[in-house]
Amino acid sequence: MAKTTDDGAVTEASPVGKPSFEDALGELEGIVQKLERGQLDLESSIAAYERGTELRRWCDTRLGEARMRVEKLTFDKDGEPRDREPFEPS
């Protein structure tokens, strides 16, 4: 079972240990700004670059795996959800 955080993102699917796409994007933005300002020494820059690349790859993957999948819940006789089936709006 996938574990979810408060904001609902699946942590398991984030290889860089980021809790959400938004956070990953935010961190990447911060890294790019730091690199652009040239505030980091060379060694930190390399580390930041690697981290940024990792974040970017993860975000790319997340965007790439976007698929529309619509399922309708089905219920048992007590009205409890039992299963689901593909759904096509009529």
Partner: protein
């Protein structure tokens, strides 16, 4: 004739009447204002419906009463559906209410306002309760009708923006059972796997009666209790239902809810790509800068051989300076300096002497003599002046004014008193124009005749009387 008329017992008649009434009014709808509302301990509800002329008793059995979608209260105009029945034990008739709904929009609005006030007082609409929607939900749970344009439009918009995983919990969105179904779906999604990150409760536009399920308290409470962020999208922009006040975000339409739910994937991809580019360029710049820095440093380092040469030179220099600091050399150096100064002093003295000689030689002989003569004349003049001054201050000027001095003849010292003169035999009086010798006159002796011509400095005795 009275005998021709069938004779009933009370019970026979009462039950016959009951049958008649129940047959004739087995299903009626009646509108009236609630009055005397009372919920018994048993759970049954007793009330009366009235209009301006009549009153009709009513009862609502516990099972029905608990299913009422709103809370009846005195003064509310309602439409009740049920059957008429009689109560033979008390000669009464009443309506057994099977369904009750507020009568018309005005009544509903009044009810809505009352409910809204109550829930608001409970704090259910508190902005602090509202949760932030996830930026990019993985699974979206939708509570709506599986048929119609609402679900279709929402799915379409979601697919357009960010294709996602959607779980649909189909419900009736109007009618008596709708509120219960909707509330159950909202609560039920908490237990579904995968648990949605976001819920959307949606319905298309309609009349206030059509949307009424979304004003029901059970729905509002289910939304308030939900731990999953929830967007409500009921009706059109102008319709506000109770669920909109409790939800975390209110969307004006179902399509707008889909837009709130997910970002646009292409925009994210573009932004991400731009970030990637910026990162690469920034890093490249950084590397170029670093490389240039290294190059600069390398230039600064120079050839190793040159470094050695420099060091050697410095060593030589230091060695030389060290040698120069040896004590013997220092002593030698000092002596030399002293010698030099001596020499210099001698030179200066010699120079001065030469200079003075030259100045002297430059003055002509005659001029020297004249200078000397003038100097002598000047001195003589000064001497004369001084003598005059001395004389003017001397006793001679006093003698001219009639005073005289008395000298002892023996040693020419001055006699300044008669006492001093007592023992003297000869004295000389000094006038300004000469001296006169005198002798003092002793007692018993004839003085010398006057008129004798004084002999300066030889007859002091003759002048004695003058003293």
């Amino acid at each position: 004739m009275a005998s021709n008329v069938h004779e009933y017992t009370v019970s026979e008649l009462s039950f016959a009447l009951k049958r008649t009434v129940e047959d004739a009014y087995g299903l009626v709808r009646v509108r009236g204002e609630i009055s005397g509302f009372k919920r018994a301990a048993s759970g049954h509800v007793y009330l009366a419906l009235k209009d301006d002329k009549s009153v009709l008793d009513g009862v609502c059995w516990r099972g029905t009463a608990s299913r009422l979608a709103f809370r009846p209260e005195d003064g509310l105009e309602v439409i009740c559906t049920g059957k008429l029945t009689t109560y033979p034990g008390r000669s009464k008739y009443q309506i057994v209410i099977e369904q009750m709904e507020p009568a018309g929009a005005g009544a509903l609005m009044a009810l809505f306002e009352e409910r809204k006030r109550r829930l608001e007082a409970e704090g259910l609409f508190d902005p602090a309760r509202k949760r932030k929607l996830p930026f990019l939900p993985r699974t979206i749970g939708i509570v709506t009708s599986p048929t119609g344009s609402v679900i279709r439009d929402m799915l379409h918009r979601l697919a357009e923006r960010f294709p996602s995983h959607v779980l649909l919990w189909p419900v009736a969105v109007q009618g008596e059972s709708a509120a219960g179904q909707i509330a159950r779906a909202i609560r039920g999604f908490e237990r579904v796997e995968p648990r949605p990150d976001l819920l959307i409760v949606a319905r298309g536009g309609g009349s206030i009666e059509d949307l009424w399920s979304f004003n029901e308290e059970i729905v509002a409470r289910a939304v308030a209790d939900s731990t999953i962020p929830l967007i409500s999208a009921v009706g059109h922009e102008t319709d506000t239902t109770l669920i909109d006040h409790v939800s975390d975000r209110r969307a004006p339409t179902p399509t707008a809810a889909a837009e709130m739910a997910v970002p646009v994937r292409n925009e994210l991809a573009t932004g991400l790509h731009a970030l990637g580019e910026r990162q690469m360029h920034a890093f490249d710049r950084m590397l170029t800068h670093a490389a240039r820095h290294v190059e600069g440093l390398a230039r600064g380092l120079g050839e190793p051989r040159m470094l050695l040469d420099l060091a050697t030179q410095r060593l030589d220099d230091l060695g030389e300076r060290l040698r120069l600091r040896s004590p013997l050399l220092v002593l030698e150096e000092r002596r030399e300096r002293v010698d030099q100064r001596m020499k210099r002093i001698a030179e200066i003295v010699a120079d001065r002497l030469r200079h003075s000689e030259r100045s002297l030689a430059a003055i002509p002989e005659a001029r020297l003599a004249a200078l000397a003569e003038r100097r002598i004349a000047d001195d003589a003049k000064r001497l004369e002046a001084l003598s005059k001054l001395l004389e003017s201050l001397g006793h001679r000027r006093v003698l001219e004014r009639g005073y005289a001095l008395v000298h002892r003849t023996a040693d020419d010292t001055l006699i300044a008193s008669s006492e001093a003169a007592a023992g003297e035999t000869a004295m000389e009086i000094e006038f300004h124009d000469g001296r006169l010798r005198v002798e003092p006159v002793r007692e018993g002796r004839e003085p010398r005749p006057r008129g004798a011509k004084p002999r300066p400095a030889e007859k002091p005795g003759e002048q004695g009387r003058l003293l």
